[in-house]
């Protein structure tokens, strides 16, 4: 078990290294234009460009340039924006991270509950009318752009109905948990539901497929021969085995959301998380900020995946011996 964890972490570090090289190549070695001019932003003076060139060692060999980039990002943490001169990138990211985590964790709790419930209900009622409904919701969920759904939710809760049934929905924005837990939840409830709606549909669909497969397994026949109730067979035997792929899916999605996929939801609901930070810097083409967000996001995803894989080994006894 320990050996497995060590191996998994090592491979995660290798992947992080590769991703850092990839990011480096994208930002500094794409053919076409001077990377210094690109990083310095649209309205950069020659002096700033020269400054960038020096800071990132753009006249030195590639490996040194990579090392300098990593140094600015992770060790000195002094990477600064050249659009809003003087603002440091790393503190901005650490400030925004709790917002993103609030959004994603809350949504994840909701979607896991709804998704598992939906999948179990659909599998238990195979062939009855509720099954295709849940399945269609699952298809719709992969077909709706998250940001657009967010806008529709905004339109409903902040538009015409805001003065009647949705008067309790606060205007978009964020209140830190430490300041007021009630306000925190109230401000996040619509973003949570929006994000969770999509993932719950996908999870219900995936879980249903897994459950239907599991119900055809030999061990379910054994469980029936043991005289267990259908309910117990579904929940204790089939669901327990089907949750394993769901957990690995959850790890990927959770990591991806924290790492940047929640960005669209943040933009629509005006939540000042890492996503919104990325979005505003995209509008200004503020490359240092984008680079920072991408790198931190990608690292978080890789780390989350490693953690999930280790958790997976706890859930599935078969993995541990491998």
């Amino acid at each position: 078990m320990l050996w497995f964890a060590v191996r998994r972490i090592t491979s995660a570090i290798l992947v992080m290294f590769s991703i850092s090289v990839l990011v480096f190549l994208i930002f500094f070695a794409t053919p076409g234009v001077d990377p210094a001019a690109r990083i310095a932003g649209r309205s950069a003076t020659p002096a700033i460009i020269a400054q960038v060139r020096h800071a990132f060692g753009l006249d030195r060999p590639l490996p040194i340039r990579w090392a300098l980039m990593m140094d600015h990002l992770f060790i000195k943490q002094d990477l600064s924006s050249y659009v809003n001169i003087g603002s440091r990138v790393v503190p901005q990211i650490t400030q925004a991270a709790p917002v993103t985590l609030s959004l994603v964790i809350g949504a994840a709790v909701i979607w896991m509950i709804l998704g598992v419930a939906g999948g179990v209900i659909a599998a238990a009622n195979r062939g009855r009318f509720i099954d295709p409904i849940i399945m269609f919701v699952g298809i719709a969920a992969v077909s709706v752009p998250a940001y657009w759904l967010g806008e529709v939710v905004n339109l409903i809760t902040q538009g015409g109905l805001h003065h009647s049934i949705f008067s309790w929905v606060p205007p978009s924005g964020f209140v830190p948990l430490t300041q007021s837990p009630g306000e925190w939840a109230l401000h996040l409830i619509m973003p949570w539901l929006t994000l969770a709606a999509l993932y719950a549909g996908i999870y219900a669909r995936v879980l249903r497929a897994e459950l239907v497969n599991a119900l055809n397994e030999d061990y379910v026949r054994t469980a029936r021969a043991k005289g267990l109730s259908e309910r117990r067979i579904l929940l204790r035997h089939a669901l327990r085995c089907s949750l394993i792929p769901i957990v690995s899916l959850f790890g990927l999605d959770f990591g991806a959301l924290v790492g940047g996929a929640a960005l669209l939801t943040e933009v629509v609901f005006g939540l000042p998380g890492v996503g919104l930070l990325t979005y505003t810097s995209l509008q200004n083409l503020d490359l240092p900020v984008i680079m920072g967000c991408v790198m931190y996001g990608a690292f978080f995803v890789v780390l989350a995946n490693a953690v999930v894989d280790i958790a997976y080994a706890f859930l599935d006894p078969r993995v541990r011996v491998v």
Binding site: G227, H237, I244, L315, D316
Partner: protein
């Protein structure tokens, strides 16, 4: 008993009538697709599909259990009638320990506490000769070898002292040595507890070792029913001759196995008359008509006259 499928209604089992006495082992033998497993699954209500219809009667300890609601069958399954399945690799839920799964069944049918059930599980594992049962009880199925898993399955089947055990090809997935050990174990446990066993197999060798009585099935119909001695010494149905020829015999001078020509009848397309006729070397005009099972304690469904059967059998034995 029939299945409704896209290709039409299949009569998977047709005209099977058999009984099992207390303490007796009945073997059901036949090639794959001959309906041996489905007939036993249907007894227990394990075939849960709207497309399956079962007609007839199943009496268990004098009570009709066919058509009973699932809640009643559930109280019988695992408690009075237990099952052992063919593939021990997949028959146990992979994410629970072996002990947990045995205890689950005990707790389902008795009011045992978790502790009691676990203690009982260890005793059962010891009884099926699993070494170091106190440690093994907390292991997962994948940590058991194939033979050990089948032992664990047997322990599970025995956990509620069932009066009938249905073993569906319990040794097919195992290697020869393990096969013999498992069969021996089943025999010993039966002697000790006096439960009845229905042994489903395609292997005449297994049958001749453990069964008291044998039912030979072909294409969902019984071909021959009799005691083991009758079946092995004086088989009457040409299909049984073929099955016996497919058993390697140490005393045989010729090493080549006799095989039955052709492939088993498709259940979708069972011939009008004797189902075995198209593959039978001794068929004649009457085989166009479906033969009834006839005889007193040794029954068979073949149109050949009794003296002819004896003569042909002798000829086959001499040839081999």
């Amino acid at each position: 008993m029939s299945f409704a499928t896209r290709a039409g209604v299949i009569r998977a089992v047709d005209g099977l009538s058999m009984s099992v006495e207390r303490g007796e082992t009945v073997g059901i033998v036949g090639e794959s697709g001959s309906g041996k497993s489905v007939s036993m699954y249907s007894i227990l209500g394990l075939l849960r599909d709207a497309n399956v219809t079962i007609e007839g009667s199943v009496l268990f300890e004098g009570r009709e259990i066919l058509g009973r609601p699932d809640s009643e069958l559930r109280a019988i399954r695992g408690k009075d009638i237990a099952m052992i399945f063919q593939d021990p690799m997949t028959a146990l839920t992979p994410v629970y320990t072996v002990g947990w799964q045995i205890a689950e069944q005990i707790r389902q049918h008795t009011g045992a506490s978790k502790k009691q059930a676990r203690k009982r599980a260890i005793e059962l594992l010891a009884e099926v000769a699993i070494p170091d049962p106190a440690r093994r009880v907390d292991q997962y199925p994948h940590e058991f070898s194939g033979g050990m898993r089948q032992r664990a399955m047997i322990a599970m089947a025995l956990s509620c002292e069932p009066s009938l055990i249905i073993a569906d090809e319990p040794t097919t997935a195992l290697d020869v040595t393990t096969q013999a050990q498992i069969l021996e174990l089943l025999g010993q446990l039966q002697q000790k507890r006096g439960s009845s066993i229905v042994m489903i197999t395609h292997d005449m060798g297994v049958i001749s070792e453990v069964a008291h009585r044998v039912v030979v099935m072909y294409a969902g119909r019984p071909a021959e029913i009799g005691t083991r001695t009758q079946l092995v010494r004086e088989p009457r149905h040409p299909y049984t001759w073929g099955l016996l020829g497919a058993v390697p015999r140490l005393d045989s001078k010729r090493t080549r196995l006799i095989t039955i020509p052709g492939t088993p009848a498709s259940p979708l397309d069972v011939p009008e008359g004797c189902a075995f006729a198209p593959r039978c070397a001794y068929r004649f005009d009457r085989c166009e008509e479906r033969p009834a099972l006839h005889g007193d304690d040794h029954l068979d469904a073949c149109w050949l006259e009794e003296p002819d059967k004896v003569r042909l059998r002798r000829a086959i034995e001499e040839a081999s």
